[in-house]
Symmetry: C2
Subunit: 189 residues, 2 copies
Amino acid sequence: MHPNLIEHIKKFVDLDENEVQVLNRYTKSHSFRKKDILLSNGQVCRSLYFVDKGCLRMYFINSKSTEQITQFALDGWWLTDFFSFMDNKPSEYYIQTIEPSEIISIDFHVFDNLLKELPQLERYFRIIMQKNLAASQLRIKYLYQMSKEEFYDHFTTSFPDFVQRVPQYMVASYLGLTPEYVSELRKRK
Amino acid sequence: MHPNLIEHIKKFVDLDENEVQVLNRYTKSHSFRKKDILLSNGQVCRSLYFVDKGCLRMYFINSKSTEQITQFALDGWWLTDFFSFMDNKPSEYYIQTIEPSEIISIDFHVFDNLLKELPQLERYFRIIMQKNLAASQLRIKYLYQMSKEEFYDHFTTSFPDFVQRVPQYMVASYLGLTPEYVSELRKRK
């Protein structure tokens, strides 16, 4: 049983008791410790991950051999490398827990069967992906529009709890800043 | 009748003759001239736009009062401002034709009814959005990873026809470069 996932799905589509049982057959639960790796560069990303509780980050190793974080996922968010997941190709990303996390996964090879058995999940995932696309459009706009300092101010004002929860050097990486620059910005504020 | 849209949908889901008629009731066709404006900053983006033939660009006016292009859409692509479309809020974007274009639109206030009448379109749009998310993840990775010159090289190598079709200053804007810098890069190659 995954009460948080069920509740999340029921916000958007109906799901009766029998259908919850079907969903359970297609999902797996995992308890991860802090810093456990769910996906490594070079592996195919075979699952959609739902954060039941905890926090994930997705990053790649850039040309300076440092970790560049591109996405976070908190409680109630989905995360995957879509290209790797859809095309069965090796990923260039890592997905790792930032804190002890309960993760629910749906594997690629059963995803289509799940959607056939519970077609209302097509609507659920369409809405989730639509929301993700909206966020992604905004993210790209910010990357073009904002100076690094504005981006930092915007992020810390919009997501104060998140900034408390995630190590400062990871927030810096996500915003494309050095940890030293973020320290300096924090001192100035 | 919208043969290109029908064909595009049939790549992913079934659609019989009656269902094509239903789809036609929910869609509108528009012929636009070059540089016609479909959406202006401050208006609510009330439609999903499908490029039947032609080319669209989406841009906003940045703090230097210049146009910053964030997306293009060619034949067979969907484009909208998702936040404005979903939340019925004024858009910060413009959507404009780059060449004479045939555009098919689905309005927000009928989109849910269309999906109720043709539930297989939930699957179609879920797959389209999944592909868009994959492209968006890659785009964000490139924005973090590549130097401006690498981004330009990658783009012109990956989409040579597109670079021929779209004015050079628009490609420069999309890549976050000045037109002068792109001219210089082209001379160096």
